[in-house]
Symmetry: C2
Subunit: 261 residues, 2 copies
């Protein structure tokens, strides 16, 4: 089942995507919903970010090849995490499928994508075990953890390197039924594949993270967890289009634009 | 003017605090409000966190004495930030004035307070200058950036050191009219003053942060910025009560409790 958040006729709603039709609902997938009599052609609605999370979690370093290749680029020793310490990203940076990623005019050429699986929490949860961790998950979407690598090195935090406005595309929708072990992540730049990895080939899996996190914190409906990326990105430039496909979910596509001075 | 968020008769609302009475409003201080005919005695309502932010910003290291003393404790060189790189905290950890801070049973004895001025954003803002930065501010409240120092050293991120459930008391209310240069921050443990500093004696001031941040990101109504702390905390224990007073705002008071196994 695919949950979609969309705007039609000036109103933003949730809907259920069935083939190319969106069945509009009242309410939302978290607190409860009812189908309305209204439906829309998918091509006729504006897609929105599938959810604005209460807390925006991000695993950061969670695939071994990415960690080693990023360290080699910086000529430092790879620092492989020894336990699932979750990090954060910021809501201001979220944009929907199709919306432009806008590069500030003072950014360097070191602008990269990171294609990531996103876990969407459906139920309030604390003290879950690895065995029952996935019981709090509503479904999965796709994120692009867009990054300015020069700022990532120079700044004390990741605030502008990772959280500049528009640097966090998420979507296009939430898929509730996936086969994690069968999924593959493919990133394309202007249609050419540039990164390809098994989505679930993570250093620490989703259940491991949820179990560790909920020892200390409560997950809430609508929270999201971005699960990290593998491989490395070529340097990108305004005019490029980045597609992040995760098989079984769909494709998140965003053009890159330059900030107008 | 003091904005308060409270629950009475099972309903959570905003109100305006006048002496010891809360005038209930419909709406909120951000999108607009209207006074109702209902009012409550302050002592008869349950105080709530003044706002759940869209993004929860935190300056982290922003007072020189705190940075030097924390570095001395760790026997490392102090790392004074050279520019205003904002950081983040997490909404799951927020609690209201009066609610208990609960220490996980596997925490060490290195549990500390950090009394902080909190800026509450009232208007959407981007590209502000230092001269007009404060135009987006609704008012000010108080935060206690509660921390487990052993985890702060051992973990790759600050997730459980700073963002364990209940580790972010905020309140008691939002004061819109302050004299920043006249304010003093006083922290008391069980009534005894243990930290005292001039609130505005910051490495980078509020206007400097807002101007730097809004070069790259949009601030939204309800966002909060915790401005950092000075001095150092004694180690705290369950049973202690921590009061953070900022003159001109009020006092945020929270007891410390132990997690029940």
């Amino acid at each position: 089942m695919r949950w979609i958040r969309f705007t039609a006729n000036g109103k933003t709603s949730y809907g259920i995507l069935e083939d190319d039709r969106v069945a509009e609902v009242t309410g939302d997938p978290f607190a409860g919903h009812e189908r309305t009599a209204r439906s829309h052609a998918l091509g006729a609605v504006k897609l929105e970010v599938p959810v604005i999370p209460r807390t925006f979690y991000c695993a950061g370093l969670n695939y071994t090849a990415h960690i080693k290749e990023m360290a080699a680029r910086r000529t430092v020793q790879p620092n492989i995490p020894e336990k699932p310490d979750i990090g954060y990203r910021a809501n201001n940076a979220l944009i929907a499928h199709g919306e432009p990623i806008v590069i500030p005019y003072d950014a360097t050429e070191k602008i990269n994508y990171e294609g990531e699986l996103v876990v969407v929490i459906g139920k309030q949860a604390k003290h879950l075990t690895e065995a029952n961790a996935l019981s709090c998950v509503l479904g999965y979407t796709i994120g692009n953890d867009f990054s300015e690598r020069t700022w990532q090195k120079s700044d004390r935090t990741l605030w502008r390197a990772k959280n500049t406005d528009t640097f966090k595309p998420m979507g296009p929708w939430i898929e509730t039924a996936v086969d994690l072990d069968a999924m593959e992540t493919i990133v394309r730049v202007n249609g050419t594949p540039t990164t390809h990895f098994k989505t679930n080939d993570m250093l620490f899996g989703i259940a491991t993270f949820i179990s560790a996190m909920t020892r200390y914190l409560t997950l809430y409906p609508g929270d999201v967890m971005w699960m990290g990326t593998d491989g490395v990105s070529p340097d990108l430039k305004p005019g490029d289009v980045v597609d992040v496909e995760i098989t079984g979910i769909g494709t998140l596509s965003n053009p890159i634009a330059a900030e107008q001075r």
